[in-house]
Symmetry: C2
Subunit: 156 residues, 2 copies
DNA sequence: TGTGAAAGCCGCCAACT
DNA sequence: AGTTGGCGGCTTTCACA
């Protein structure tokens, strides 16, 4: 990994606030504007920073319910997995999608307005591909949600 | 909800790319610069935009393993729940934390480097509070991950 | 809401250590 | 790798229709 301490500090700052100016970043990490700017450019070009996004308040937008959906299948060929991936990617309600080890094959997090909106999603899902077993677990409350990855770098 | 179509379009753009300039936003949504800027200010002030962040590449930073941890407890009083919340919030490895309906009481997503890093986390967790049942499910692959909430607004 | 325009900061580059 | 200096442009703001 070709990152030094300063790079990690820059990443820590940016993943906390992407709209911070180069000048402020440079002051925090203790180098002057230009090298700091060059580092930031490099971190983007190398893909350490994937994108900069605005995080919206899901509750305010009436999307307060997360549902975790565990999926089991008996088809384990590559083409079916690809099909499932395509299907899932077309659902904007699915915000996370994992292939799992263990009992269940896949795990989804689905973000919807309420239970009936989830039911609509569920019907769409089982209609669009063949699944052996689908188990839904409802979240009552989102206690923590962060996009910040746990960097080894010291917190600023 | 005091948002019109234009506001929703602005939100859709910003949650896809927060570094887009006011001018580009204004062109996309069909109003001129200043009113568009005023809307964007308003959306932030009202809290629809919570923050702007950089999304980092977890794989590149050697944090490729997500573990979903289901927690069961027999203590259902408010003070214990608060204690758990505090404990969890102090773990940077825990990137998501939900109170669940159904069999399990809580669900965590923990982001770590590898299995042994997870084991370290696990030991820290069970040491810091009393839990009746902890089940860990490992994700082999993150197929989809987005911070974009499914807005009713038309995709741009 | 839209227009226009001023002020200022910021990203960006050049020349040098 | 770092610094210093500066140009150009965009963001931000205000005044007014």
């Amino acid at each position: 990994m070709d990152l030094d301490e300063i790079d990690l500090q820059i990443l820590a700052l940016l993943q906390c606030d992407a709209s911070i100016s180069t000048e402020l970043v440079s002051q925090h990490v203790g180098v002057s504007k230009t090298p700091c700017w060059r580092r930031m450019q490099r971190l983007e070009k190398l893909g350490y920073v994937k994108k900069k996004v605005a995080l919206l308040d899901a509750d305010k937008l009436d999307l307060g319910v997360s549902v975790f959906v565990q999926i089991k299948t008996n088809r384990h060929d590559a083409s079916w997995a690809e099909e499932l991936t395509d299907v899932i990617n077309d659902f904007p309600e699915v915000v996370e999608f994992y292939r799992m080890a263990g009992e269940y094959d896949y795990l989804l997090r689905v973000l919807v307005k309420d239970i009936s909106a989830y039911d609509e999603f569920y019907k769409k899902l089982i209609r669009s591909t063949s699944l052996t077993d689908v188990t839904s677990n409802f979240a009552m409350e989102q206690i923590k949600y962060t996009t910040e990855v746990p960097l080894a770098a010291p917190k600023i």
